[in-house]
């Protein structure tokens, strides 16, 4: 049933998908272009690791007409609950 619906709507609304994919890929690419990004990531990670076990942070850059932002996502390890 779902596949039938997907077939039916194939191509419909693909502009939205294009927009979302572009936003996502450009957020990453814009951050990679920043000359200080690797250094900064290392330093942020050092601070984060003082408190957590994580070794993964994601940095994304976004810009609109008025403001440029950097989004830093800290991926935490799943806590294993001891009963």
């Amino acid at each position: 049933m779902t596949s039938l619906l997907n077939k039916w709507f194939k191509g419909a609304n693909s502009a939205h998908i294009a927009k979302d994919r572009l936003k996502f890929v450009l957020a990453y690419e814009r951050s990679v272009r920043l000359p200080y990004i690797d250094e900064m990531k290392k330093e942020i990670l050092a601070v984060v690791q003082k408190y957590t076990q994580t070794s993964k942070i994601d940095v994304r850059a976004n810009s609109n007409h008025d403001i440029d932002t950097l989004e830093v996502e800290i991926v935490l390890e799943k806590q294993t609950h001891t009963p």
């Binding site: 502009a15 939205h16 294009a18 927009k19 572009l22 690419e29 272009r33 810009s63 609109n64 007409h65």
Partner: protein, 266 residues
Amino acid sequence: MVITITSGKGGVGKSTSTANLAIGLAQQGKRVVAIDFDIGLRNLDMILGLENRIVYDVVDVMEGNCKLPQALISDKKNKDLFFLPASQSKDKNILEKSKVQALIADLRAQFDFVLIDSPAGIESGFEHAMLFADRAIVVVTPEVSSVRDSDRVIGIMDAKNQKRKEGQEMEKHILINRIKPELVEKQEMLSNDDVLKILALPLIGLIPEDPKIISATNTGEPIIYTQSPSAQAFQRITKRILGEDVPFAEFKAKRGLMGALRGLFV
């Protein structure tokens, strides 16, 4: 005023835009020169219909093989429009910054507008086309590949620009080309707003997809001489370049007549 027309990827209509805007500006009484900076690949001559008049090219001028006036080709219809062709024999790496600078300074002194048709992407030719520009027009089509590459080029442009290095601002605008209103209405193509929100630069113009452009290129008679919707769009962009405040047309899919478009003023 030096305006570089550039893009992220090829095939989005840079040379077509350069040719038509050059003619548009000349029709408004400005002295204009259009330079094909896509060294190794000639295009602009065919679009302008001037391919049979080429003797010397832009590299000949820079290397001192001829004087600038010998290389400038005058347009068939506009006495105020001149064209400087790309070199086919040399490769892109031949350009030297100091020679490019001297040529652009020379042209800047003689013309109201210098339009540089830049190579796509971020090769050395792009860099040279960007160096001495006062303004940049980035041609984008509403497709993921074009928008993505444009973003990259916009990011690099300022770094390569002399004016910017001297602490001044290089004006940058987006020109959205080959818009298919019927697809935008069906939400199967990125809308103008989508593109502008993603790229975060001001808009200078919207050009609808126009099948007549193919025959215009075939014959070497640029579209701007016709009454086609894309021709009217180029005329509006010309006026905006000259500082006029011209409203943006909204293109509606024409019902019943396949592919025919009509620009409606909002």
